[in-house]
Amino acid sequence: MESTTATQTAEPAVALAALTGFSRTAVERLSAAKAEPDWVLAARLAAWDTYESLPMPTTTVEEWRRTALRGLKLDNQVPFAPETDRIASLDDLRVTSRETALAIGGERAGMTVQRDASTVYTEAAPAFAARGVIFTDLDTAIREHADLIRKHFMTTAVPAGLGKFQALHGAMWQGGTFLYVPAGVSVGVPFQSFVLSETPGTATFNHSLVVLEEGAEAFFVDAYHSETAGKQSYASETIELILAKDAKLRYVQVQDWGRHTVNMATQRATLAADSELKSLQVTIGSKWSKNSIGSHLQGRNATAEMLGIFFADGDQFFDHHTYQLHESGYATSDLEFKGALKDTARSVYSGLIRVSEGAQKTDAFQANRNLVLSRGARADTIPNLEIAANDVRCTHGATVSQVEEEHIFYLQARGIPRSEAQKLIVEGFFRPVIDRIPVEEIQDFLKAAIGRKVGI
C-alpha cells in the first residue's frame, strides 16, 4: 500500500494512512479527527447507511445510460487527506499564476481556500460581518452556527438520499464553505471558495452551502484546481444554493481539476417566490466528470438563469445533467449550455424541464449547443420535457455542429492563418455566454482557458 503521509508527524495521520477505500470506519475516523459534535457524526453515518443501501448506478438507469462508471476505482482512494496547517497568506499557495488570477484576482468580499480535506485560509470583509453576513468554513459554521447548518445542510437542496454519490458525499464531506446573508443585506462583490487537491490518490470532497434570506443579494464563486498527476483522485462537490423570497444570487463554478481526477458534482438551488438565480457552470478539467445541476423553482415569479460552458479535449469525458424543476407557476427558467470538443473527447448533455401539476404560466427555455472540432470527438445531447400543466411555454433546442469551412475561408481570406481562424471561431461560439458574466477576471480566465484548449 502506498503511504502518502511519510512526512506527517501527527499521530492520527499515521493511523489514517492505513485506510484505503470508503468505509464506516473511515467516516468515524474523519469525524473524530475533526472533533465533530455527535449530531454531525450521526448525520454522516445515516448518509453512509444510505450509500451502502443504494446500488452502484449502471447504464440501465436513464441518468447513467451514456455514462459508464468503468474506471472509477473508489476502493483505491485514500478516503481523506490528513489535516494540513493553515496558511497566513495567499502568497503561501503553490499555484500557478492562471489559477491565482482567477481565484484571487479582482475585488472580493471574502475567500476560503481548501487544500485537500482542510480549510487552510479564510478571509471575510469585516464590513459585511458587521451586517450579519456569515462567511466561513463549514467546520467553524458547525461550531458557531449549528442551528443554521442543521436546518440547511443536505436537508432540502441536496439531501444525502438523492443518489449513491450524494450519499457518499454526505458521509465523507470535508472542508466546505458556508455563506449566509441575512434579510435585506446586499453584497455585490464575489465571495470566493478556492479548492486545491494536492494529494493524488486521495479523495477530495468539497461543499458550498449558500443561504440567502429574504431580499438578500450575493455573488459566490467556486473554483477547483489540481495539477495533473498519475494516481486517480476522486473529487466530489455538492453545492446547495438556498434562496428565500426576493433573494438574488449569482453563482459561478469553474472546475479545473487535473486529468487524473474522476469528478462527481451535484448542484441544486431552491428558489422561493420572486427570487432570482444566475448561475454559470464551467467544466474544463478532470478526466471524467459528471455534473448534476438543478433548480427547484418553488415560488411564483422565481427566475433561474442557468448557463454552462464546457470544453473537452484529449480523452476527457463530461456529462452534464440539468434539471429545470418548475414546482410553482409563473416562474421562468432560461438555460443555455455550450460545449466544444476536440481530439477523442466525448460529452453527454441531458436536460430535463419538468413542470409540475398546477405550475401554470411556466416559461422554460433550454438550449444545448455543441461544437465538434475533431473527427474523433463526439457529443450527445438529449432534451427531455415532462409537463403536467396545460398553460405553459417550454422551448428547447439542441445542436451538434462543426466549424464551417466557409467561416474559416472568410477569415483566411483576411490573412488570418487557419489555426488562428479556428480559435477565433471557437471563442466566438462561447462569447455570448462569457459576455453574460459581469467579472472581467473570470471572463479573461475563460478566454485564456479556451485559447489554450483550442491550441495551435
Partner: protein
C-alpha cells in the same frame, strides 16, 4: 521582380467544383493602377473566378496558372495570398457569431502587416500598437460613414446588405491590398450606399493597386471608372474592350452578345 512584370496574370485557368468544370480557360492580365471590370450573366463563372483567385478550398484548379508579381500562387493557402496583398470583397460576406468586428479586424491587420514587415525586412516597422490600430480603424470607418458602434458588433451578424458591403470595403481599407477583387460589391445597395461604397473604393484606388470589379450592371461603372471591361460567358472571357463595351452591353443585353459570340 522587374518593373515590367505584369502584376497579376491569369493564364488559361480551368477550375472545377465537384468534377463540374466552371472555368474553361480564363486569360486576364491586370497591371498596377488598372481597374478592370468583369461583367457577365448569372452562372458565367465570375464569382467562381473570384473564389479561385482567393484560394477557396472547394474549387480545384485543373489547368493554368495565376501569377502574382511573377510568382505562381496556386499552391498558396488563402491566408498566404491575403498576406501577399490579394483581397476579395465577398458577394455574400459570412456571418461569424461571437467574433467582434474590432477583434477580427485587429487580428487581420496584425497578420497582414507582420507579413509585410517580414517581406520588407523592416524590423516590424509596419506593425501597429493597439492605440494606433484603433485610430486607423476609426479613421477608415469615418471614410465609409460607419458608426463607431460597428466595431463592437459581431462580424456581419444582423448587418443589412449595405452594412455588409461597407464592412467589406472597411476591411480592404485596413488591409491595403495591392490586388483587390470586388465580387458584386454593388448588389443589394441602394443608390446612397452605392455612392458611399464607390467613394470608398475610389479613395483607396491608386497607382499601386490593381482592381478587378465583378458586376452584373453598368451602374457601378458610373461610380468607379474602369480602364478595361471584359465579358465572361460559360467560363471564358469572350470579349474585352474599353469602358464603351459596358455601355454597349447595357444597350444590347447579354442575349444578343451571346448570339454574336456564338456566331463568331
Amino acid at each position: 521582380m522587374a518593373n515590367d512584370t505584369p502584376m497579376f496574370v491569369i493564364e488559361n485557368l480551368h477550375a472545377s467544383i465537384d468534377d463540374k468544370e466552371i472555368l474553361r480557360g480564363v486569360n486576364l492580365t491586370i497591371n498596377k493602377g488598372e481597374v478592370h471590370a468583369l461583367m457577365g450573366p448569372n452562372g458565367s463563372g465570375k464569382s467562381t473566378l473570384a473564389y479561385v483567385l482567393a484560394g477557396h478550398p472547394s474549387y480545384e484548379v485543373t489547368e493554368g496558372s495565376i501569377l502574382f508579381n511573377g510568382e505562381d500562387i496556386l499552391e498558396k493557402e488563402p491566408d498566404e495570398r491575403a498576406r501577399d496583398g490579394i483581397f476579395l470583397a465577398f458577394q455574400y460576406p459570412t456571418v461569424i457569431p461571437g467574433v467582434s468586428m474590432a477583434n477580427f479586424l485587429r487580428m487581420a491587420v496584425t497578420n497582414v502587416r507582420s507579413a509585410r514587415s517580414a517581406a520588407a525586412n523592416d524590423g516590424g516597422a509596419q506593425k501597429l500598437a493597439p492605440r494606433e490600430f484603433r485610430r486607423l480603424m476609426r479613421e477608415k470607418m469615418a471614410l465609409l460613414k460607419m458608426d463607431d458602434a460597428f466595431a463592437t458588433r459581431y462580424l456581419n451578424e444582423g448587418f443589412s446588405g449595405g452594412e455588409k458591403k461597407r464592412a467589406e470595403i472597411l476591411q480592404m481599407a485596413l488591409l491595403e491590398p495591392t490586388m483587390a477583387i470586388l465580387d458584386e460589391t454593388d448588389s443589394g445597395l441602394d443608390i446612397d450606399a452605392l455612392r458611399v461604397v464607390s467613394d470608398g473604393v475610389n479613395a483607396l484606388a491608386g497607382p499601386e493597386m490593381g482592381i478587378l470589379l465583378i458586376t452584373h450592371y453598368q451602374r457601378l461603372l458610373n461610380h468607379i471608372k474602369p480602364h478595361h471591361v471584359h465579358i465572361m460567358m460559360s467560363g471564358r472571357i469572350v470579349q474585352s474592350g474599353g469602358p464603351e463595351l459596358a455601355m454597349e452591353l447595357e444597350a444590347k443585353g447579354y442575349e444578343q452578345l451571346r448570339a454574336e459570340v456564338a456566331a463568331d
